[in-house]
């Protein structure tokens, strides 16, 4: 390429460039037209939006208008789906996520995608009066984007078992099921109180809750799982502000937890199998809890802030403190019940992603 050629074209190219710029301006004007229509649409829909609405602030501080009479609900997390069914409002549920498998009827509802990457268009097409989300698995961006479209999204943010009960009551009120909400919360609270009454005098058991085995990930003290363990008479040996801290095996060996707790979805099919597998590994073998066979497979319900969490608390309390529960027949019956339930959930959990990190 010679210099003269480039000089010749430079002047020419400024001309070509301004012409290209004109084209781009036209494209921008077209987009401007489309988006002006869009903002117009939002304004046009505003008046109808105010009638029969109440203003609500959700647990993350977002304000929104929700109709007094909610008929169509979309849930964005398995625990929320479970809560809606536990309130007896399954027929108001028009859509849930592809992770929602409890109760089995939830699997038959139209899905909007995974909790982290739901398809916003699919949600819009379901005409929801209310979308339920939770900070424990959903992304803030999803709620923000739906609120922008004028779809109310109530995000719950439970960090404790009591917080979970409050969230249930709040969501029941929003859907117009105040009585069912009160009844469900009272029933769950009485079960918690029954557990508490038996173990209140006992010292807390030091436990290691295994979220993920390799790398070893456990729970932080601000998670609802840590709180659920406290209700069941146990305490995590690891004290961390992070929600899902990665800890070194050395630290665990130094702390020597009394019990090791595994969830059903991250472990082998039965407890003996699991124990043998861990005993074969040098790092785990050094733990007294493993040598003594103090391993508990916890119902998967522990991973979700939903009504099923109370069942998991009962199960852990039974396993960690058998001495105070053995006096009546309830313990045995309960074991049987959770056993069946665990097998059921363990099967469907196989195709699932991790509940904790959400990735």
């Amino acid at each position: 390429m010679s210099r003269s050629a480039s000089l010749y074209s430079r002047g020419f190219f400024i001309g070509a460039f301004t012409r290209a710029a004109r084209q781009i301006v036209l494209v921008i004007l077209f987009l401007a037209f489309c988006l002006a229509n869009y903002t117009g649409a939002a304004a046009a829909q505003a008046p109808t939006y105010k009638r029969g609405m109440k203003f609500v602030t959700d647990e993350t501080g977002r304000r929104m208008a929700i109709p007094f009479s909610v008929q169509h609900v979309v849930t964005l997390a398995p625990d929320l789906t479970e809560t809606v069914y536990a309130l007896g409002l399954g027929d108001k549920l028009v859509g849930d996520t592809s992770f929602c498998d409890t109760p089995p009827a939830a699997k038959l509802k139209p899905h909007v995608g995974s909790p982290q990457t739901p398809n916003l268009e699919a949600i819009v097409a379901m005409h929801p009066d209310l979308v339920l989300a939770t900070t424990s698995i959903n992304r803030a961006e999803t709620a923000d984007a739906l609120l922008r479209l004028g779809i109310p999204v109530f995000t719950s943010d439970p960090h404790t078992v009591r917080g979970m009960l409050d969230s249930i009551a709040r969501m029941a009120d929003l859907i117009g099921a105040h009585e069912q909400g009160t009844a469900l919360v009272a029933q769950l609270q009485s079960r918690l109180d029954a557990v508490h009454a038996r173990i209140a005098e006992l010292p807390l058991v030091h436990a290691l809750f295994v979220v993920w085995e390799d790398p070893l990930i456990t729970i932080g003290q601000n998670t609802f799982i840590a709180d659920a363990l406290r209700w069941a008479g146990a305490e995590s040996v690891i004290v961390a502000n992070q929600n899902w801290p990665q800890v070194s095996m050395e630290e665990v060996v130094r702390l020597q937890p009394d019990y090791i707790l595994f969830t059903a979805n991250h472990s082998e099919s039965n407890k003996d199998h699991e124990l043998n597998r861990l005993r074969a590994q040098p790092a785990w073998k050094a733990l007294r809890a493993i040598q003594m066979g103090r391993v508990v497979r916890v119902d998967d319900e522990i991973t979700k802030p939903s009504p099923g969490l109370v069942g998991a608390i009962e199960q852990i309390a039974h396993e960690l403190h058998p001495e105070v529960f053995s006096s009546d027949g309830r313990g045995e019956g309960f074991e049987h019940r959770t056993g069946v339930r665990m097998e059921f959930s363990a099967n469907i959990r196989q195709e699932r992603e991790c509940d904790f990190c959400g990735l």
Partner: protein, 343 residues
């Protein structure tokens, strides 16, 4: 080889614009909510006739609230990344250079993470903090990359890589302080995400502002295109031919960095587009920067809109991150074109 005339460049660009328009229309049609082209056209007529109430609300929400802003953002991000890639490849005289090579994305990611720790529930905080992070990295790398008062390509490249790894180390440290839900946002942001809502409710103004910055930066780079052709043959040779090499480098560095910062702050780090598209355009239309810059811009827009359409349809109703899609679809196309050229 045919001489490069303005007419030929305009013709090529208009042809590519046609492809982009077709891809945008297809993208507008595809998705979980079914929409036909006829629906869109008739809706536009209804709206123009003032009968907007007859159009279903969710149609407006899907088309004007979700798909159109997303396509517009995709066009902007794709064009910015690809133009920036072409610019960095000339500036560093390195075919492996991409928009992120000088650490801009790490700076933006650091800004985003800091915003998630400081103000976790603020809409738009990520974008604004990411832009501040990107801008500070651009300035820092610029001052580190000078030698004897002038931008020196190898020094600049080293400065960028050092800055990127230093910032990544800080990011790894900060990530241990972030709790679950924020970690999720940042993971998606790092993979590239076009779904995040804009920081203001004035979507039109926001997009207009972004396009204005894009036109300024890409236009500035275009004014240096014939000089870039000469610089690519060698800096000494270009100097002898009367090119102000330092000025050209400065303009290209600032323009490409601003484009990268812009794209990264609104969409996170979308990989491969900035590397692959300029090379594909070179293979198709030649290596002349007067042709390359505009075709790379439009080609990048096509690539992102196409990738985003696939990302939200292949595993519907779930969505894939667009960054994964660009790599998945981009690599085979690139290999095919490379093999064909070698034959």
């Amino acid at each position: 080889m045919r001489p490069l005339t303005p007419q030929r460049i305009l013709g090529t660009c208009l042809g590519l614009c046609g492809v982009l328009f077709a891809v945008a229309v297809i993208s507008l049609r595809m998705g979980a909510y079914p929409i036909s082209v006829r629906d869109i056209v008739s809706t536009l007529f209804e709206a123009a006739a003032g009968r907007r109430e007859e159009v279903p609300v969710e149609f407006w929400q899907v088309v004007f609230g979700l798909r159109l802003p997303r396509i517009a953002l995709g066009i902007l991000v794709g064009a910015s990344l690809s133009t920036a890639g072409a610019g960095f490849q000339a500036l560093l005289r390195n075919p492996l250079a991409d928009p992120y090579v000088l650490g801009v994305s790490s700076g933006a990611a650091l800004g985003a993470i800091v915003s998630l720790i400081v103000a976790p529930h603020t809409v738009g905080a990520i974008q604004i903090a990411a832009f501040i992070g990107a801008a500070s990295t651009i300035a820092a790398v610029y001052f580190l990359g000078r030698r004897g008062g002038q931008l020196d390509s190898p020094t600049l490249l080293l400065a960028g890589i050092v800055a990127a790894s230093f910032l990544s180390a800080i990011i790894m440290f900060l990530l241990t302080m972030v709790t679950g839900s924020e970690l999720r946002s940042i993971a998606f942001w790092l993979m590239g995400d076009l779904t995040a809502p804009p920081p203001t409710t004035n979507v039109l103004g926001w997009l207009g502002f972004l396009f204005f910055v894009f036109i300024l930066a890409a236009g500035a780079m275009y004014t240096t295109s014939s000089d870039l052709n000469l610089i690519l043959t060698g800096e000494q040779e270009a100097k002898h031919l009367g090119v102000n090499v330092n000025r050209v480098k400065f303009v290209v560095y600032i323009a490409a960095s601003v484009l990268t910062g812009l794209a990264v702050s609104v969409s996170g780090a979308i990989g491969y587009v900035g590397l692959l598209v300029p090379h594909v355009m070179r293979m198709l239309f030649g290596t002349d920067y007067r042709m390359l810059i505009p075709t790379a811009a439009i080609g990048g827009a096509i690539a992102i809109v196409l990738a985003d359409t696939l990302a939200r349809t292949v595993v519907a109703p779930t969505e894939l991150p667009v960054g994964a899609m660009t790599a998945l679809a981009g690599a085979p196309v690139f290999i095919y074109l490379m093999r064909r050229r070698m034959r």
